[in-house]
Amino acid sequence: MSEAIATQSSTDTEVSGVDIELTDVVKRYPGQRKAAVEGLTLHIPAGEIVMFVGPSGCGKTTSLKMINRLIEPTSGSIRIGGEDVGRQNDDDLRRRIGYVIQGGSLFPHMTVRQNIALVPGLLGWDRRRTAERVDELLDLVGLDPERYRGRYPRELSGGQQQRVGVARGLAADPPVILMDEPFGAVDPITRQRLQDELLSIQEELRKTIVCVTHDFDEAVKLGDRILILTDGAQIAQYDKPEAILANPADRFVADFVGAGAALKQLTLSRVSEIELCLPTVAEIGDSAPDVQRAANAAGDDSVVVLDGKRRPVDWMWTSDLSGIDRVPAPHEDTDLVTIDRRATLNDALDTMLMSSHGSAVVTGRRDEYLGVVDFQSVLARIQDGTQPEATP
């Protein structure tokens, strides 16, 4: 799937989302003394992922559902892209807002294709356009259309169902997508993959995504901003994840963030933010003595070997180049360990620990070689990030 993303993202990185403005939104249920949502005012910028977190019963889901009017606000106004949602027909409104919920909530009596095609159908798309869109979306979420479009939900794993759920939410290309605990019902490993995939999809589409979660780590990983709510949907803090980690607004937020705030920053930074080392590289078939000389001159004890398409294939010690003529094609068990530039520092550290070089080769689109990341640069990055907090 990463390849499908890479090919498309090169052409399209402009923001396709619109902003959302909540002004003094109140939700009061009859017969309850306390309001579920007590005057929430919030601006959600276009093209960002905003995570709503908070203890259960704090009104985060209620707030989310008021955006597409599954729950009608008692008072206050909600504007999407400047338009007041209260003045629109609620069905029309919802067709223009993607909605993804826990476990995918696919309709069990409809095939994958029928599930995804539902909203395009409501919008009156013709058959061909809908069919093309379904295949495109299945590709986007990493499911082979040929294989999966005719299946029923019960013939899919939890992770696959969730992917189809995301595809269904994206079906009509809505500028705003609401997600309610989207990855709550899958195992941790699948969840991590789905999160990575959502990030790559977002990198390409730049929608405005509002996502409710109870998992603070998920909020840190996915969110451009995090909204932490307390009872009655009062804002405890609304800021970028790094700011919340570095400076929790109060005890409540600090408790909610939990222990290990500094470590959590590892999931905030991506390998792409680190300055990579650029050791000597060689192509298969280059003259071995030349390469060895160049490496010695640069002070490197190893050489990254690339293939014709600049993809790393081997990582040789310079000593192994002695006494041979040409740089050889890689043998079975090379020392090469690669990592995608989108990986978090957490993933990077994990990978480096497994490498005999104590560092990892970083690749970009289509596995193209970018450079090498080592412990020193990761540590430097962590120290930069924690500076303000480390002073007291």
Partner: protein, 274 residues
């Protein structure tokens, strides 16, 4: 070469394993089919054997004049037809009333009335049909339509209750997902709630069919025809061949109707539901 993606290599294989398992389970479920088909074939075969045996007996047995008149092929055909008419008309009316009523009683506006209506329907079923049918006949007069009314009162409960239960049993998350995607409440009802409730509703319809085909035997008491007349005549005139033939034919008819109901259940069950 070991290539590590953002998620370590194990991640991918672990998930693809889980996927493979799910796929295998799905395929196995597909191959297994539902267990019902074996029984479905057995039932009509059994009925056919019994009926064939009875027909052979009927064509060879020595019967007296009363028995011959009662077991005349033409008369038997007419009684069976009457019986089927009673069953079909009553069932169609029950469906036309109970299904829409059940739907209405699960809509937010009328939801609170549901227990009351179900209680009334319950009373209809609890009252003994024989009493009901006679009382109605005294009030409305003898005949076909009075019998139909009694049968309907008797059979409305299972369809009504199963329609309500079936619709209530639809996962609320799915209804909300449908609404959240911009389907009107009518579309959610027609495309999500009803299809998912079909298996439960159909079970109620089959129950009603079997109840009606059995109780239609009593229609003969108010001169509304049906195979019940063989049984009453058999008892009154002490003609066991007539009595037993009547009972046998009603039983066979009930089994055939039950079978038809099961087939209908299988056929209408939406694909994709295990």
């Amino acid at each position: 070469m070991t290539t590590l993606d953002p998620g370590p290599g194990t991640t991918r294989s672990a998930e693809s394993l889980a996927d493979a398992k799910a796929t295998a389970a799905g395929l196995a479920a597909r191959r297994r089919r539902r267990p019902g088909w074996g029984l479905l074939l057995g039932q009509p075969v059994f009925v056919a054997i019994v009926l064939a045996g009875w027909a052979i007996w009927r064509s060879q047995a020595e019967l007296d004049s009363i028995e011959q008149r009662q077991l005349d092929w033409k008369l038997l055909g007419r009684l069976t037809l009457e019986h089927l008419q009673l069953t079909a008309v009553a069932t169609v009316i029950v469906l036309a009333i109970a299904v829409p009523l059940g739907i209405a009683l699960t809509r937010p506006r009328l939801r609170r009335a549901a227990p009351v209506v179900v209680a009334v329907a319950n009373a209809g079923q609890a009252a003994p049909v024989i009493g009901l049918i006679v009382l109605l006949a005294i009030w409305l007069g003898f005949g076909f339509w009075t019998a139909i009314l009694a049968l309907c009162l008797y059979a409305i409960l299972p369809v009504l209750r199963n329609t309500i239960v079936g619709l209530q049993g639809v996962d609320r998350n799915l209804v909300e997902a449908g609404r959240g995607m911009g389907m009107s409440s009518r579309a959610v009802l027609g495309r999500i709630e009803l299809p998912l409730a079909v298996p439960v509703i159909m079970a109620g319809i089959r129950t009603a069919l079997v109840l009606v085909v059995g109780t239609a035997t009593l229609a003969t008491f108010i001169d509304a025809g049906g195979l019940g007349s063989l049984i009453t005549t058999g008892i009154r005139l002490l003609r066991y061949p007539v009595l037993i033939s009547g009972a046998l034919l009603v039983g066979a008819l009930a089994l055939v109707i039950d079978w038809a109901g099961r087939v209908l259940e299988e056929v209408t069950r939406p694909r994709g539901l295990g």
